[in-house]
Symmetry: D3
């Protein structure tokens, strides 16, 4: 996806220019993992034109493998973004109709080849939201992974303004999540995408209830993860995360983020940190702490991509101070 954002804190087209970055919920996780030294390949569809070429170059520059990217279709999906500040929330306006990814036939990807040697497949709930074809392709990917013994991570990422081709995401997402090992979800995701709702005094308790329900409903699930966010303003959030495994729920260090540069992409950085931990056999608590620290740091980095090193993330986990590094 091509992200076009207004400069600084401006409103869209306040000045007639855009900052550009190739990104997307899956690409953000891939780039984050590559920064952490994990070998990662992107599987997607891009148009056979200059914009598609530039997207490939961008991913490749970060060390993300691009050989399984299919080149077809008319256009690259676009999103227009303006950053939030204070009482004005960030806004994302999707322009994804007719994109290569929305139109790619489900059978176009050679999943056995793409997944060869892989430990994990990561998908999100945004791709199936784009079109029925994309939903079919996502389901096919999950099924192929399952047959090949590749674990599947899925970030639910409910987007109400997408999901326009069907009545409800629930039947589709239910089918997908049946093959998922690690589900990342929040309260809206559980309810809108899986039909699981509940009530509790605080968000973590709610997550505990819903994630337990999810584990009951989907026996394949080994992990359910969630970010914990206390939105004081668009510029200041409390931030943490929780991880349920079959052994119970873990909580992590909480960060008080007082100057949010960019809110978008922080959940993807969380996921990249978590997958880094799981791929590298870290203990669940450590993996969760890395995830939360990665997501925390991402709030300080403009645009979607998690441009940070493992050193920085590990440093934050054990940090006593945010002093200048010289």
């Amino acid at each position: 996806m091509l992200r076009l954002s207004a400069p600084g804190c401006e409103r869209l087209l306040q000045t007639p220019s855009f900052d550009a970055e190739f990104c997307g919920a899956e690409a953000n996780v891939a780039v984050g993992l590559a920064h952490f030294g994990v070998k990662v390949d992107m599987v997607t569809a891009l148009p056979e034109n200059t914009i598609g070429d530039a997207a490939v170059n961008a991913l490749r520059g970060f060390g993300v493998g691009t050989e399984h990217i299919i080149r077809c279709g008319d256009r690259l999906g676009i999103c227009f973004v303006e950053a939030g500040a204070g009482y004005r929330p960030a806004r994302v306006l999707y322009d994804r109709a007719g994109s290569s990814l929305a139109e790619v036939p489900a059978g176009a990807f050679d999943w056995p080849r793409a997944l060869e040697g892989a430990d994990w497949l990561h998908i999100t709930g945004i791709t199936p939201a784009v079109s029925r074809k994309a939903a079919d392709a996502t389901l096919k990917a999950v099924q192929a992974a399952r047959e090949l013994g590749v674990k599947v991570s899925c970030d639910a990422n409910y987007r109400s303004t997408l999901w326009r081709y069907c009545e409800s995401p629930i039947p589709i997402m239910t089918e997908i999540v049946k093959g998922v090992t690690l589900l990342s979800a929040g309260a809206d995701d559980f309810e809108q995408m899986l039909g699981l709702a509940g009530q509790a005094d605080d968000y973590v308790s709610l997550f505990e209830a819903l994630s337990a329900e999810a584990m009951d409903t989907f026996p394949n699930l080994q992990y359910v993860a969630g970010t914990v966010r206390d939105v004081r303003s668009a510029s200041s959030n409390g931030w943490s995360g929780v991880l349920r495994s079959r052994a119970g729920v873990l909580r992590a260090k909480r960060y008080e983020i007082d100057h949010i540069v960019e809110r978008i992409g922080t959940g993807d950085a969380f996921t990249a940190g978590l997958l880094y931990g799981l791929v590298n056999g870290k203990a669940n608590q450590e993996a969760l702490e890395l995830a939360v620290a990665a997501g925390c740091l991402k709030h300080s980095i403009p645009r979607d991509l998690a441009r940070m090193t493992l050193d920085e993330v590990e440093g934050l986990v054990s940090a006593s101070s945010v002093r200048v590094r010289r």
Copy 2:
């Protein structure tokens, strides 16, 4: 007025470029009202040159009517602006000597035609501060409105560095306010522009006293409005507003703004919100809440103009969270 501001948080001419925007206390209200769907015309004087043309185009683009703008004189007034941050306040340096507005003869405007069909005329105390001619023109406008049964809104906006042609603004402003329906003013304004002073334990009590005194002094006044600002730093303010009508004083929801992008123009956004409410027959409390929310949101938008929709303002009035909008 042409606003020339240093990029980001830079000091003036730290780098040799300026961001430009056409604005001004009256234009800001006009553009805010146009964003809220109110039909509005600007009456001012602009030079007959490329800069004047660009100002007309800018206003027209926002949907502000420009047919009553007079083209005459030598130059468009300029202000140089640097944003504040932390302990450094924002600064405005006026360069308005000899501007078209300062030099336009009071009789140049055809007020009966300009006010035809209007509900409200909005003026500010900045125009009469620029020159005696501009003060005369303002007074003429108020008198014409009164004769035509058009209500008059006046934002006092005391600027100590202007008001150089006379000893004190008090005689002039007193004459003007005699025709005003809605006066927006703060403690400095009451004292420096109307000669009304007082003392109280807190700002709202002081406003209550001064606004009561104003209502006594000026029987035409139906409303006295004020913003309430608790300046913790140039980046963090408490923010609310008060509105006195003949029925008493109303207070509004208070916002803790923790990341101020732009301080300038927030009072004008407040006024635009208030006038929107009054023009559309909202209850006084609702009008005040819209005013305060509009002013609150404006703190997040760079430069002077209130680039925000009614949806956003209404959303903030009833908001429970500042989450990303996708």
Copy 3:
């Protein structure tokens, strides 16, 4: 030194451009003093090329005397900077190997001429960190000053990534500090550069102990100054300062800085404020308050240099509010 920084809050080379500024620990103090109206000359070495010319022009533009600058050597030292935000600290990457200053022979400077008529010589611990030649030059400067009765100010400024030509800075810095009148130092500086360590419940107590020890060790010292910083995040710090004279320790007003635009150069602004006070015969308490206010204001100004007037600093010392200045 040529500072190359990423735009806004970006990471280095996130977009392919750099903001440039000529600066450095000594230059920052010089430019700050020039802003405060103090006559000041810079003594350094710059290459005989366009970059060196531009550095001279920049200093001269601020009113810093440049006639004692030696033009020699291969290159101007560079530092790459990215601003911090929230939990991400600012970063400085030095590229100073082989710079004109690192390679200049200690005898190249004509100190008696350069110091003629001077009250103070200001040096920092960064120059001796760059190379042995630079350390020798620094020592020669201090000795010349002492012989000429010129007081010496030294900001310790320990930089662990420099100091690569020797085992430890302690022998060199001990020799230098023997000639110093005013030492600015923090806990790391005392320990790493002078071998003075201690423990205390809070930072100010620790400073009291270490500065007392320093005064015992170095009888020439008349003042030991230090900034007091409570790092809540890269964007929010508590900030103050302390000054020990032979009469005891003075503390200053504390500022809660809630939106840090630039962390780099704040210590240099503190020093400029302090030297301004001492040069102009202010009382110690007043000098310290000016120093702390100057450093506080500097947090709001992008890049290294202390672009602020004496009026602004004095205004902050006595400020009741951070309101817009028009």
Copy 4:
């Protein structure tokens, strides 16, 4: 259409930013005419979102009427542009699939109302190239104009990379041109869009033959216009124009343009100049000279829109020198 262009002479995404402008073959003519003081309305379809709002504001700012614009559909069409230089031609990459204009039902426009009081309707061959629906809408517009006695101008503008929904544009364009009064076309347009081909020693002779053939084929045609371009490089062109009326062919002054800032939009400026002349009853020769001068000047203005005054165009027609204007 939203034009996203690389800064200066850069290749697309050489740096990660785009300059943005709302434009398009029809919008360019509308904005040009508005600059020349002609009352003009735009009829098109734009999405009901922030991007659509910004497009409306942009047109309105130039004085183009926007009340007949329909708000519907998913997205605004986009084009990516890089400027040419020397031996590298300018490039345009269309991203128009699924745009509001491509999907708008032909019956959505109320042509009798939109054309009320109009002298001319201007269309181009780009709209029917986008989709069958858009072609139907174009044909409907032409037929409505004909019935209402409104003259129709059509700029053929053959774009080989569009026109993907049908075998050939010829049947569609033939039907459209049956209702056209003024056709602007070049050799490619005649051949690919109307099936009229020919051969001649030079371009003007070829145009004479093809335009005569067109007049024979389409008895409604009163004018056939064409630009004459001698492409020495992407930076240097010879430039003129020809106009056939029923009275014969007129040629115009030829300009040697030696520094092309922007090649895109020059044909649209030519059309705006021509329509200005015809609307205002200028003699054919004078109208053609204005068209050629407008197109010539447009080569000096970045991006699509013809930002120039009538004075400037008329000045060029009679110019003796290109001296600085102060």
Copy 5:
């Protein structure tokens, strides 16, 4: 003067930002001379505000002396500039009404002190065009110079859009030129400012006639200089110069400039080159060649100031090739 120019080849306010530079006909010559190593002081009036401070810093940075600058008045004059290209000429829009320089009393300058030790005083015909006060100040300066034996250089620089306070510049300029040693003028200048007109087949012959007439009329004149420009387009000019002394007329090498980056300030660079030669006792022919080469090079440098070294100018005088310098 503060120059505000549109970025690149854009039209004014095409994008909402300006590039800024402090300049002016006299400042440009001063900065050019400082680049060539000539000791030079600027005498002017600037407002006592941040903008005035920045102007002082800019001049001082280039090595121009600023101690004779008076700080008074309301504002710094502004000019808005857009660069030309091809058939579109560069444009300058003056906004100088009410500037410090226009309002400064003629007696405010202490000319004997300012001219102490000077060889030359350089003035232009733009200052007397701004206001009668400025004309009086200019005349006083010339008279003071004459009394002190300081030679006077005057660049006539006729600007038709200034000169608004009087019927004709001729009486004023005639009085001024009576004290001038070196007059730089073109055909318009001779006619509009001195009432000297003529006719000839080519421009150089015309200059020969008019300069001879000027020498007859003004016996104090030792030199009359002129630039020779053959305007093929705003991007391509032939360029040379002529110099009449009492010994006759000298012509210089002619340059064919094929890519003009900036047309403004080229005459001032010519004057700086000429004065450099005269101040340093170069032969008249050599001085003229330096002047023409300096003016030629200036066409390649954005904005007003002659940012070039003497080496570069001398290199061009004897150049055989424009190869890359590494």
Copy 6:
């Protein structure tokens, strides 16, 4: 190398920002070849820091292999660049002292592994100019290639301001060229680097003589290539190339480049085109035409790198027109 260039046509630090690009004579060829679809690896030394990481990412993004890059040393070499225009030549200021490449031990590279499977090794005369160590490393590379049957391409690229560690490059370059298959050189290169001088009426004849002499002197040489440039100005050049093989001298199509955007890197694009042809077994004439066309196109692309496709180069070889591509 990190290239820091002034924006547009500005002089260095005219505004305080730099455009950045990772490039260098060898990297430019590598990136050009990667654009043409040739598999290519870069062998160099980069510092182990953020700047080095960014350089690796940039190369990898273009598809250049980076696994043989050694990470060591203190700094990445820098060059400061300003573009030329008209009579002002482009300028390059090297800042390469103490760079990782200058300090890397000759034995650090594992050439047998790096060259495994390679057809060609490409080197330039800039690397040995940087330091004796770098010269040794270059020689080692050539010798390894020779032993492994890998052909060697060498672009002489004489830079007089480098080559500071020895009296003359001739002994070193002679030793290197003994192992070279394809030498690219101009008249200065032959003379200063190989001691071969001559005289002829025109440049091509001179090249014929010198290249023949080179072939006599170095029996290993199979090709000697040269660019042919007729420098009319910094903005306008005639451009072609010549290629001598053992079968004689071939000449190519000549291009008249009338608007040079960037002069730097054009020789490297020529070399990339030539190597593309030789690697892919094109006939010598075809390879030369591709080289000349690639170099020609590069004049239109800002900064060093040859960002162009093979289609574009081949298109230019057979081009009839430079029309807009849509």
